[in-house]
């Protein structure tokens, strides 16, 4: 226990030392490019559909060094899930990192079950060199057949830690969160590993290994879905 406290204190100290650096990590804008495009392939195994896979494509445009807009699409076989979203955000630099205010509007079509889902999310992310912490709320409305249902507001949270500061050209991290690119859960907590590595000045390789259990808050986190993602990002 004492060892963990010491490590946490030293890491917090490191954060404050690193905070003035410019971030050039997977999610960070380095001020030198305006556009980011990324594509990835993903595959996984899920309790309901067994094996599944898919592709995704993302685009982000930095309007200024503070404002950005973007859009994402994804297609998954197995689940027959077709997703797209538009999003935008504002970055507020603070002396210990950045506060990001992000909004997202998403539409999912679960064709296999004849269900449509419309989601709006507003999140606040405190991004530091080694950590990020996200809180937010999601509006989720779904419809199957003639039945439509608006879920009570869903709390969004995420936490991640990386072994190198975000200024580094490569990184490996661990995350815990109740959302993924195209869904927001209530109390089922995803966790996994992600990484990125700079291949050239304009090209990054990135990937993720994600475990999505069911019943997290039932003290019985059970295997529900395991998935992996591998992609490339190009900036210009």
């Amino acid at each position: 226990m004492n060892r963990i406290i010491v490590i946490l204190c030293l890491l917090l100290g490191t954060i404050t030392m690193q905070a003035q650096n410019a971030f050039i990590g997977q999610h960070r804008y380095n001020g030198e490019h305006k556009n980011e495009i990324s594509g990835y392939a993903m595959a996984g195994n899920n309790v309901v559909v067994s094996g599944y896979g898919g592709f995704g494509l993302s685009y982000k445009r930095h309007l200024t060094d503070r404002w950005h807009v973007g859009a994402d699409v994804q297609q998954q076989w197995g689940k027959q899930l077709y997703s797209n979203d538009v999003q935008g955000g504002y970055r507020l630099p603070v002396w210990w990192g950045d506060i990001n205010i992000d909004g997202k509007l998403m539409y999912n079509r679960y064709n296999r079950w004849n269900a449509n889902e419309t989601i709006g999310n507003l999140s606040l992310t405190w991004e530091m060199p080694y950590f990020f912490l996200r809180v937010g709320e999601s509006y989720i409305h779904w419809k199957t057949g003639d039945f439509g249902y608006t879920e009570p507001l869903t709390f969004t949270f995420g936490f991640g830690a990386m072994i190198r500061p975000r200024t580094n050209s490569w990184n490996i991290g661990l995350f815990f969160r109740n959302y993924d690119d195209f869904y927001y859960e209530n109390w089922n907590i995803n966790w996994g590993l992600n990484f990125y590595g700079r291949l050239t000045k304009q090209m990054y390789l990135f990937g993720e290994f994600n475990i999505r259990p069911a019943g997290s808050m039932s003290q019985l986190a059970s295997k529900y879905e395991t998935s992996g993602k591998l992609g490339l990002k190009y900036v210009w």
């Binding site: 079950w113 039945f147 290994f209 069911a214």
Partner: protein
């Protein structure tokens, strides 16, 4: 170096993470759950297949209707007052069967001993009421022969801390069905389906069984449809009554899968618990009732925690809430 130490801890976490992707290793499961849903369902299905039809066909009508009583989340500990009240209400009202939606007891051996004693006590009362002549005059009569119509599903609190061994010792199977014979000629049955969602998911094994049609006994040999009504009972709630509920519900795909499956079964009513809050929704022709907890610790005041369903001979279904008056001693 700090970063080296940090790296070691994160790498250790990464190794555990990768191990947890294997079927045989589940660090979280090792910490909190002795039996996963896949093992539970395999064991339950083996029992179910071995005992299918063994006392699970009830005769529906003596009058114009039959009724059944449903309760949820009794979390029995040393005080069996509310559980006793439910069993007594069913006995007094001549309910054909009782269904319990899980979290019947908090996981401790002594609580399950209290529960089993209580069920045995009411099995005897049931036998005295419905098999009085046999009970009093038949020397060969044994209570073991009495199928006490109490049908529970398993809840998450039943099986944390290796509780499955305790639960299954009394109730045997977490995945099964029961029929009520409502007409002999032509044959017609009402179908009661009990699903294991204690882990917040049915698990792959149970989904496969459902997709294989293990519970789809829709048709007679002649091709005639024999299921009149279908009722489903499980623990984990689909609908979340409020934003601030911290109970895990089904992941999204599984929620849509279940809504579709219940629709395919032409389910009339689905009964769920877990979240300790009342909720009612109607999806197509299917009513979804999420029951509040009947536990005196969660709801100390008397209240309408049970639901009774009336099924008329003409097929009409209606339901009412049933009051519980027990308060903690």
């Amino acid at each position: 170096m700090v970063t080296m130490k940090t790296t070691h801890y994160i790498l250790l976490g990464a190794v555990l993470l990768l191990l947890s992707a294997c079927d045989k290793v589940s660090p979280i499961g090792v910490l909190v759950s002795g039996t996963g849903v896949e093992d539970r369902v395999k064991m339950s299905n083996a029992y179910y297949q071995g005992h299918k039809g063994d006392g699970t066909m009830l005769s529906g009508y003596e009058g114009d209707e039959y009724t059944f009583l449903v309760g949820a989340d009794s979390h029995l500990t040393t005080d069996d007052g509310r559980m006793r009240e439910m069993l007594q209400i069913a006995l007094d009202n001549n309910d054909l069967l009782m269904a319990h939606l899980g979290d019947i007891a908090d996981t401790k051996a002594e609580y399950y001993i209290i529960l089993e004693d209580l069920i045995d006590e009411y099995r005897e009362k049931y036998a005295k009421k419905y098999y009085a002549e046999h009970y009093l005059n038949d020397e060969n009569f044994s209570l073991d022969k009495v199928r006490y119509p109490f049908f529970p599903v398993v809840g998450n609190h039943d099986i944390t801390h290796n509780g499955w061994a305790l639960w299954s010792n009394i109730f045997h199977s977490s995945f099964y069905d029961v029929y009520v014979l409502v007409n002999l000629d032509p044959p017609q049955l009402d179908h009661f389906i009990f699903l294991d969602s204690a882990s917040g998911t049915l698990g792959r094994e149970q989904v496969k069984l459902l997709e294989q049609g293990v519970l789809n006994d829709y048709y007679h040999d002649t091709g005639e449809k024999i299921i009149r009504h279908t009722f489903v009972f499980s623990h984990t709630n689909i609908f979340r009554p409020r934003s601030v509920e911290f109970a895990s519900t089904f992941p999204r795909e599984e929620m849509f899968f279940l809504l579709n499956k219940f629709s395919e079964w032409e389910t009339d009513m689905v009964f769920l618990g877990h979240v300790h809050k009342w909720d009612y929704q109607k999806v197509g022709d299917t009513e979804y009732l999420t029951l509040d907890s009947m536990c005196e610790a969660n709801n100390p005041q008397p209240g309408d925690y049970l639901v009774r369903v009336h099924v008329k001979k003409d097929g009409t279904i209606s339901w009412e809430k049933v009051r519980m008056n027990y308060t903690k001693k």
